[in-house]
Symmetry: C2
Subunit: 413 residues, 2 copies
Amino acid sequence: MIKTAIMGYGTIGSGVAEVLEQNKDVIAKQAGQEVELKYVLDLREFPDSPVADKIVHDFKVIEQDEEVQIVVEAMGGLNPAYPFVKACLLAGKHVATSNKALVAAYGTELLAIAREKGVNFLFEASVGGGIPIIRPMYRCLMGERIEEITGILNGTTNFILTKMDKEGESFENALKEAQNLGYAERNPEADVEGHDTCRKIAILTAMATGREVDYEDIYTEGITRITDIDFKYAEKMGTSVKLFGTSRIKDGKVNAFVAPVMIQKNNPLYSVNDVFNGIMVKGNMLGVSMFYGSGAGKLPTASAVVADIIEAAQNLDHNLNIGWSGEKQAIESMDQARFRYFVRVAGSYRNKEQDVKRAFGKVEVVELYGMDEFAVLTSEMSEGEFKAAATAYDSAEQARSDYGIKQMIRAML
Amino acid sequence: MIKTAIMGYGTIGSGVAEVLEQNKDVIAKQAGQEVELKYVLDLREFPDSPVADKIVHDFKVIEQDEEVQIVVEAMGGLNPAYPFVKACLLAGKHVATSNKALVAAYGTELLAIAREKGVNFLFEASVGGGIPIIRPMYRCLMGERIEEITGILNGTTNFILTKMDKEGESFENALKEAQNLGYAERNPEADVEGHDTCRKIAILTAMATGREVDYEDIYTEGITRITDIDFKYAEKMGTSVKLFGTSRIKDGKVNAFVAPVMIQKNNPLYSVNDVFNGIMVKGNMLGVSMFYGSGAGKLPTASAVVADIIEAAQNLDHNLNIGWSGEKQAIESMDQARFRYFVRVAGSYRNKEQDVKRAFGKVEVVELYGMDEFAVLTSEMSEGEFKAAATAYDSAEQARSDYGIKQMIRAML
């Protein structure tokens, strides 16, 4: 019998306890022996819960109990998650976590300690909730050179964008609805500003390159400036707008960003709607493969943590050498990333055609009935080239009264 | 250094040789040592190929060379694939195969021999081509009780149905186009009659239950009786028709079938088009998860075989105990499977309403302009109940001239 402990009895922690109990027999069969929950660490008491007699308030009880071989961290945040996880690994215990903030900030150090101590630090649930994605990267795609990872990695923003797309809602109303349904926090910044997606694509990029990725190096833009008018154009164009976390890897160079991107129907991520997540992985031999499912939720996420518990149980006596090293992966400047650009411009195309063509070159024009503006879709160019073109357009136009670029959305069409 | 051999230098076999060469460094890193191709078994010579000096014609060379630890079977068919693979396992060699016919027919015996000999029999590429699905089932979803697997598992039929759906083509024309593009064989029976899908869903069901599944127990119906008229109704209903291989597992009972099924846009498999495959797995804790990608093709399939080679290399000294036992999984009679039914009926609804309602109960009616027929969508019922209802309708109607049920397609709506 293997003994485990769960740190944090919130949504995920209680979900892990539930999965361990509900699927006891399946888990025992796969792990090779029964997995017993010995402790649950939380500041609170849960007198009416099934784990009432397992609650402890002092981390030292877990740290010092040699019987406990696998610890689940489901507290979230960095403190005390980071010191507790570190102490568990140093004490020779395996750790499974669902905490993307922890993995993005301290993954390199925690992986190194796990290697040194011959235990495993596992984090399937930190990206994509219940969707298997971390493990497929080291168990299934291991003969591939990964060339691109593009994911819809945040359910909250995908719900909001889906509402705006399918029901014509404004960003503000869609956000309110997400908050009312409990999909978005009262303070939604981490989701809508793209920070959550940024940490997840940083983790996936580190998995793909084997090198440390500093999430602060990744250009990150959220969805707050996307409007219902953008979706009116998108509808006419047969496109949609999704918040992507993307990494393109070529010859050891990495171009990574988080931003709303305009895509069309033939993109496998086009149909990933509502709170679902989807992660597209492109390998040099495999081509495109996609993983789809619930990116959050108590039981799906808990199921991913339990898969990590089983993996640890199957490899109690050695480190799997997964993850990444301390060598730092350079991320290219966003100016070098290449896109097409959807650009909304004030005025009428008839009056602006010359300036538009001079600044942006060949474009496709999209006009909506009754609007004092129009949109163009540029050819592919680098972000640096686009900025220069936008500046050139502004200079040429600034004397006019109906002047200015009203919107820019990157496009992969 | 690990030495391997490839049996069969056709599309997949030559693809495996290519991936081993192209991604040599990545593979060596993951396998823990270099993987060298020592022999290629084929009746033909390939004097201008990169493996010219590795070609052997005598299987015994591979069987008796103790240096060869991992053998790839990419011959297809059962003979000599079956005796050769069996001999390799008996000689203590690991085997990776892309051959679904072999796995479906002899998997139980080959898995048992592998267990006894302490080697591994791996077959990721036998289902879903390049899509990781076999390995996720034993590496990622191992804490789950699998409740349903539904896959679009055959690229040829999916291409044909997509053409019929999006371009209004007839079955015959869509098949011809598939043949011209090399997606369908001159004798397309294995694909269009559902036999290929049947073997694949049998393998997935055996993985999910841990028991032997006889593919001949699985009700199998192809797409040859699906017409462009069916898709005209589907368009009006906002649905599509896909060839599904499905297994529903509950309390140890399995309901499995291969058949064209009508689905709607919110089904994650709705957007799996052209030659792509998609496999939806439902776990009791995870909920719905989907794997999507290239279901066939030289390099994607070869990449899956290479992932098996790496898995074998990482576990040279022991059997992973994956797959299924010799205990046989009973498959319920198709009469017990439950669906809604899309039924096309001769005549006009005005004249037939009474007989339709008496036979099928509550239905939704769909009428197309200018057709001497109409369609109904029944409530959910078992296949046995549907057969009885269809017989009752026939009896009530048989005296009329515009008589008869023209089409039935199962629906998951």
